[in-house]
């Protein structure tokens, strides 16, 4: 045994983490009910395992079971969890605490930082307690950790409080904290879900690089198949508490064995899959039990008539919010949320607004619906003014213009039956009464693929996708001409997302409806749109037919946005990019700031790009507090 290295290499690799027949049950009103059933998997040293599944699949519970973070009074863990050969369930509470943070660390969806302490204190606390460093050493180590996660000017950042950092930066700090004790296993539970695409790409890239540098294993939990394809060596697919399929990522994507995996892969929007076509097209879905294609409408949505007058016309609209500060609460600056935005929507057309958080797309939608006051400009719907000077009353507009909201759990009054929710607008506007009303409600439910008997139920008795169908039915109740869908599918699971988009297209074909579709998801936008407008910092930087914008993007930001979208294809895994730490700039401007005039250049018929001389560069950057000083 003089060459121990060799003998180790010859042996089969012992996994860092091995989970055998794990069953986790929660205590409910009817006794213990299993949330994860008979789950077995392993993670080898320096390997990345992606656990992918939709909400309720038990992927987070698995991670919490491994970390022993579940309350033993309400959760029961059965089966074996071996970490480097040690059985974790048998350990005492103080023993497992030694493993947490030191041997295995976890990062969560929203970076879990304490808002009342600065970043440096929290990092140094971990280092002092877990590694027993002195204050001086801890500080030096903290700076190194922040540099390791590529936070610019790390030393200065130590004094920042969590709220002073952006979401991406906070997640970097959380990762730094998780790496403080050089763990062998990093469990990342949806670490990029709350982030914008460009930031998501940076964080995924960072985790990949750190894994190389630190030689650790990663268990990456996500619902996003695109991210899986980018990062994972092996993939485990979960569905309702069961492990459906595991295998090398390339194999799972190329030749999925189970119908559920096939259905899941079929429902993922893939950026670029619509190249060469002009019109929106529904997803070709696969049934998750049989693996057979679902007989859905595959026809594309027709192009809007070329000569028709626009239904909705947004002209030079600006929306601003006052930033107040100082002793007397005076206005110290303004958020230029929407700046000089103009577009038209034709009958039967879908225009998508894309952009990242803070780009002003939702504010634009809310301005159209009269939920935000318009500072300048005018929004007209046919002969009625929807916002701006001479605004028509809501009661006159609501049968032309309707909205679907993002969160299907918040947009339905929890105390009303579905039937009453759908009947209310009809009753209030005197559209239908008595028997006719009931028939109409039944029709609406049937139109969105639900059954009329469901009218007697309450919203919480439905799943997220069904609730969003109800929200669509309600938006359709007054038979509007245009529906604004503000991130209407963003909160839904992938497969449900695809179904809802297909439903929206189906309704559009049947009724000749127009959509203003607002989303941050480029791949979904590619499916559904006739035309696309890209927003950045409150302005439209590019607008045009979908094909032109996607196949020939004219603005640097559009290209950046598209390259950040994770590609759900392991074979086309992105080459290592330089690690940009760009942040989305703040639209807060000092008082009296004059936005530069908006000039658009026409690249091809109908395809415009914002002309940004040097004047258009945002002058102010940073927090409102900095502006007040300036």
């Amino acid at each position: 045994m003089d060459r121990p290295d060799m003998s180790i290499r010859a042996l089969p690799v012992t996994p860092i983490l091995e989970v055998r027949n794990l069953t986790t049950s929660f205590r409910g009103s009817k006794g213990w009910s299993p949330v994860v059933r008979d789950l077995s998997f392993h993670i080898a040293p320096r390997e990345t395992l992606a656990v992918v599944g939709e909400s309720g699949s038990g992927k987070s519970v698995t991670a919490l079971s491994v970390m022993r973070l579940l309350n033993p009074r309400s959760a029961r863990i059965e089966g074996e969890i071996l970490f480097g050969g040690t059985s974790l369930p048998g350990l005492s509470d103080s023993q497992i605490r030694g493993y947490r943070g030191r041997e295995m660390s976890m990062i969560f969806q929203d970076a879990s930082l304490n808002p009342v302490y600065d970043v440096g204190f929290q990092l140094m606390e971990t280092l002092r307690i877990k590694r027993g460093l002195t204050q001086r050493d801890a500080k030096r180590e903290a700076v190194q950790l922040l540099e390791k996660v590529r936070i610019p000017s790390a030393k200065k950042r130590l004094d920042d409080f969590p709220h002073e950092l952006s979401g991406g930066m906070r997640q970097r700090v959380a990762i730094a904290m998780a790496l403080a004790c050089k763990p062998q296993l990093l469990i990342a539970d949806e670490p990029t879900t709350a982030l914008d695409v460009t930031i998501q790409a940076q964080i995924v890239e960072l985790i990949k690089q750190l894994q190389d540098e630190e030689r650790m294993s990663v268990m990456f939990i996500t619902h996003d198949m695109g991210v899986v394809a980018e990062i994972a060596d092996r993939t485990a697919v979960m569905y309702r508490g069961d492990l459906v399929e595991t295998g090398r990522t390339a194999d799972v994507f190329a030749a999925p064995r189970q119908p559920y995996t096939r259905a899941l892969l079929a429902s993922i929007p893939r950026l670029g899959s619509m190249n060469g076509t002009d019109l929106p097209q529904p997803f070709a879905l696969i049934d998750h039990r049989s693996g057979e294609p679902v007989a859905a409408a595959e026809a594309e949505v027709a192009a809007p008539p070329a000569s028709a007058a626009p239904r909705l016309s947004v002209k030079d609209v600006s929306v601003r919010f006052d930033v107040r500060g100082g002793l007397l609460g005076g206005v110290t600056g303004r958020v230029h949320a929407v700046e000089d935005v103009s577009f038209d929507i034709a009958p039967g057309e879908t225009l998508s607004l894309v952009g990242e958080s803070g780009s002003g797309k939702s504010t634009t939608a809310r301005a159209i619906m009269g939920l935000n006051r318009v500072r300048q400009g005018r929004i007209t719907m046919g002969d009625l003014v929807a916002a701006g000077e001479g605004q028509a009353p809501r009661s006159a507009l609501c049968d032309r213009l309707q909205m679907i909201f993002q969160d299907p759990f918040a947009s339905l009054d929890p105390r009303m039956r579905v039937g009453d929710l759908l009947a209310e607008p009809l009753r209030v506007h005197g559209t239908a009464q008595g028997e006719a009303l009931r028939t109409r409600v039944g029709e609406l439910l049937r139109d969105v693929g639900l059954s009329p008997e469901m009218a007697a139920r309450f919203p919480h008795q439905f799943s997220g996708g069904q609730r969003q169908r109800i929200a669509i039915a309600r938006a359709l109740a007054l038979d509007p001409e245009l529906v604004v869908a503000d991130e209407a599918v963003s909160a839904l699971d992938v497969s449900v997302k695809a179904q809802i988009i297909n439903l929206m297209m189906e309704i559009q074909r049947a009724r000749g409806l127009s959509y203003l579709f607002i989303s941050h998801d480029m791949a979904v936008v590619e499916r559904i749109s006739h035309r696309v407008a890209v927003m950045y910092l409150g302005r439209i930087v590019e607008i045009g037919p979908r094909r032109a914008v996607f196949e020939n993007p004219g603005h640097a930001y559009t290209r950046q946005l598209m390259s950040a979208v994770p590609v759900p294809d392991p074979a086309r895994r992105h080459l290592r990019r330089g690690l940009a730490v760009d942040e989305i700039r703040s639209p807060v401007r000092p008082l009296g700031y004059q936005p530069p005039p908006t000039r658009m250049i026409e690249l091809s018929p109908g395809h415009f790009v914002l002309d940004e001389g040097d004047a258009a560069q945002p002058q102010a950057k940073g927090r409102p507090a900095d502006l007040a000083k300036a």
Partner: protein
């Protein structure tokens, strides 16, 4: 249109919710609260059925015998033969009977004033929350002003102006209590009115009054119920204080507070029972209501899962 009824990826719909049953199940987990509820129920029943449970009507002068005056607990009536369980006052009035009849006034005043204050306060608070802007500022400054006065001083001033009487006491209590409801209702209302279902209703062209009444109010009820319970106890003790001070209910309709006040003058003559037993009854009532209220706050607190 093709209909796909089965949303193949839909999560199992949740079980049908039974809010009342869930509430009851959660409530009984605390033994103290169950005891409080049982005691409160007994007190309310005793007050309601007072004529059936008492040997005499303490306010029918025909039934009083001055010869039975100032008897200690346990003595029997000379004229009627029944036992004075808790003794008598100087006019031969049975203290036990007086307490049950007094409970009727105390509970009645407490409940009516708290419910009226809840109606006034919640209406103004929700209105402020939904409307915002100047209306909200005006209402909330009024609330601040109201809450900055000492309650007892305010009530004393009002009753000094209006004079004695059950209706006047109720009015005074409503005037000093509405602000608490308004503040709570506004707080809850502001959280709720930022939710998407309120915006969705606005977008559907539903009139503002209907949004407030049909959507906002039902979703703000739980915290208001909790406040209302606690305020009933507060109103009862406040009324007792006012009656003790002699500005509350008139002598013809004595509440517990007035009984305590009447007995107080005999305290130092050793005739403790005239004052102490009504005091204990008041104490038990208020503790029972507070036990129930505290448990309801725990159970109905929307953040209890977090």
């Amino acid at each position: 249109m093709p209909v796909d009824l089965a949303d193949p990826f839909a999560a199992e719909p949740q079980e049908r919710a039974r809010p009342v049953r869930d509430f009851a199940r959660e409530y009984v987990r605390s033994p103290g609260a169950v005891l409080g509820f049982a005691v409160l129920l007994a007190i309310v029943l005793a007050a309601v059925f007072a004529p059936l449970l008492t040997p005499q009507n303490p306010y029918d002068l025909m039934q009083l015998d001055i010869m039975d005056g100032q008897l200690p607990p346990g003595e029997s009536s000379m004229a009627y033969g029944f036992n004075y369980l808790l003794g008598t006052d100087e006019q031969g009035r049975d203290i036990y009977s007086a307490i049950l009849y007094g409970l009727r006034i105390s509970l009645g005043v407490g409940v009516v004033s708290a419910v009226s204050a809840a109606l006034v306060g919640a209406t103004l608070g929700l209105f402020a929350a939904y409307k915002g802007g100047r209306i909200e500022a005006a209402i909330m400054r009024l609330v601040d002003l109201q809450l900055s006065f000492p309650t007892i001083l305010m009530a004393l001033m009002i009753l000094a102006l209006l004079g004695k009487g059950v209706a006047n006491v109720v009015l005074a209590l409503v005037l000093v209590e509405w602000a608490t409801f308004a503040r709570t209702a506004r707080g809850v209302g502001m959280v709720e009115s930022r939710k998407e279902y309120i915006e969705a209703s606005y977008v559907l062209g539903i009139p503002a009054w209907r949004i407030m009444l049909r959507h906002l109010l039902p979703n703000c009820i739980p915290p208001l119920i909790v406040i209302a319970t606690v305020q009933v106890a507060r109103a009862i003790s406040l009324e007792a204080t006012l009656s003790f001070l002699g500005v509350g209910v008139p002598i013809t309709e004595p509440s517990l507070g007035l009984l305590i006040s009447n007995g107080y003058q005999f305290m130092f003559s050793g005739l403790y029972w005239m004052s102490v037993y009504p005091g204990i009854a008041l104490l038990i009532t208020i503790v029972a209501i507070n036990l129930v209220g505290d448990r309801m706050r725990d159970v109905l607190n929307p953040r209890k899962d977090a």
